[in-house]
Subunit: 338 residues, 2 copies
């Protein structure tokens, strides 16, 4: 049975959505859940969720990391041998082999830093990357890095490409995934210095590299994975989220402020607009994998509800069952031989 650690203290409305989502995942997917956090807060929700017969264990962690944990203070909490915060305690379960993956909707920075210190990195990977699954005309495109590393070297991008390729193939079931390099032009010579130097490294890697891509290729579904540095990836993520939100608000506003036929039309198309919102909803995907650390880590949005937490556990299970960590390790080892 696949064992997933769920941080009960992660989401903005912790621990209710975190615990309820974990219960739903245990019930629907048959996951074994290790709930980490303040036991006195977790237990009442667990009791009222009618999950007594489910394979759920509570691991007490009296402390928690919050949005205020950053800088040196965070590093201290992340690396302390006897750390008692839920993220560190949860990650140690993965480290010790007592669980297969870790899921949190907590502070992304805190989760990344703590993962790095508690799990270490995959041999040959210099920097881990956070992966964002973006909606496209035909499905999803994985973009990495969306924020772990604002400054990258060309070799980092090659490692991201290899890990992203393995992840897309193993976890998302895409045969020979198409990998693109985000640039300001499709031609091979186009790009920042970083992109120009990364291009030959991606060409030489054992991946299906299709060259530079722009927004068009990503949202058309022409690539399965798009590689970039964490600064560009994060700007990309925030920009597309914001423009999509603006557009949907403008449409709603225009319909609301329109004449009677427009208002009637608006009411009639509402379900259709709902399906678009669902496509854009990050909770459909649950959480972003952090690739490159020596263990499976999934970081969800702070706004995650129980549904999103459940989805996050599903994705973590799929990754564990696909043995994607071992596959990434082999692919990276292979790349070091050349």
């Amino acid at each position: 049975m696949t064992r997933i650690v769920v941080d009960a203290m992660g989401s903005d409305n912790y621990p209710t959505p975190d615990v309820e989502g974990a219960v739903m995942a245990a019930r629907e997917y048959g996951a074994e859940i290790l709930l980490v956090g303040d036991a006195s807060k977790i237990q009442p929700i667990l009791d009222s969720s009618d999950g007594k017969t489910l394979p759920i264990r509570v691991i007490h962690a009296p402390e928690m990391l919050t949005m205020h944990d950053k800088g040196e203070d965070l590093v201290m909490k992340a690396r302390h041998k006897d750390a008692k915060n839920s993220i560190a305690v949860g990650l140690d379960l993965v480290k010790k082999g007592e669980a297969d993956a870790f899921v949190t909707a907590g502070n992304t920075g805190a989760a990344m830093v703590t993962s790095l210190f508690r799990l270490g990195r995959i041999r040959g990977v210099d920097r881990p990357a956070l992966v964002g699954p973006f909606p496209t005309a035909t499905g999803r495109c994985l973009i990495l890095d969306i924020g772990a590393n604002p400054n990258c070297e060309p070799l980092n991008l090659q490692q991201f490409a290899i890990m992203g390729s393995v992840y897309a193939e193993r976890v998302r079931g895409i045969q020979n995934p198409r990998i693109g390099l985000i640039s300001n032009g499709e031609e091979a010579g186009k790009g920042s210095e970083l992109v120009k130097e990364a291009y030959p490294l991606l060409s030489n890697a054992k991946i299906n590299f299709v060259g530079n891509v722009e927004g068009k290729e990503i949202f058309n579904g022409h690539v399965d994975v798009a590689v970039t540095d964490g600064f560009t990836g994060n700007v990309f993520l925030k920009a597309t989220e914001a423009v999509a939100k603006l557009l949907i608000e403008k449409i709603r506003e225009t319909i609301k402020g329109g004449n009677l036929p427009t208002k009637i039309g608006g009411a009639l198309v509402r379900p259709a607009l709902g399906s678009i919102r669902k496509m854009l909803d990050p909770s459909e995907e649950g959480a972003a994998p952090l690739l490159g650390v020596n263990g499976l880590v999934f970081i969800g949005h702070g706004r995650s509800d129980a549904q999103a937490m459940k989805s996050a556990v599903r994705v973590a299970m799929a990754a564990a069952e696909a043995k994607v960590l071992d596959a990434m390790k082999s692919a990276i080892e292979e790349s070091l031989k050349k």
Copy 2:
């Protein structure tokens, strides 16, 4: 009378939209137009546009730059003393003081490189920047650079901020424009090395610097100008264009494939969706200013129609009449004194 040079050979469907747009601008805005390009191709369109009484002159330029002009070959054509391509001939008219601004819908790279060689730079500006006017919840946000410089130094971003501020104030009439620095987080310490080093330079400039911004702040209308390097700006531009296009297509598709009430609703909201498309339509703005070269240059989309060309001339006129070039020169001089 403000004199605008229009490249008749720029747009994908040259010279018809270019010439027709110029005629419309001469008629509606009273601009004096200098149409540069192949006279034998321009004249018939001019004759059929009923513009004989308008202040339009044709300047013959037998050659043209195309999408295929790049690299060293382009540099040669851009700098050649006796260059006969329409962009070079048109820019020389501005250089010699025979015109106040230059408008083209031609190859962006070719227009930038030729501008740099024919006009030179404003004293104190190391790199020119291309400015994109993005739609927001409350109006427009100017983003620069959207593609002139894939690699930037911190000082370039300070210069972009000063020029963008002057442009927003003079041409768009915004009092004390709010300037943001695009980053992967709003906090002052967040960003790539470039952003971290640029932050204090923007803080010290004589502008209304409001700090780091993400997509949210830009599309909410919290800043009037957002500064970034040309790689990030271009990725931002292409990503937001592509996601907006995907969204509108998905909505159309969902309505089309929906049940009868949804289809009826779709027909009723169509005018409302049209107004959203108009908001996103780059032809509303006409063209992007290239700031930092020693002359007023506006570069439109290759897909520009006559309407877009007309808008481009309107924007170029506004910039010339606002004496924005002189104001930018003074502001940059001022910044050098410190």
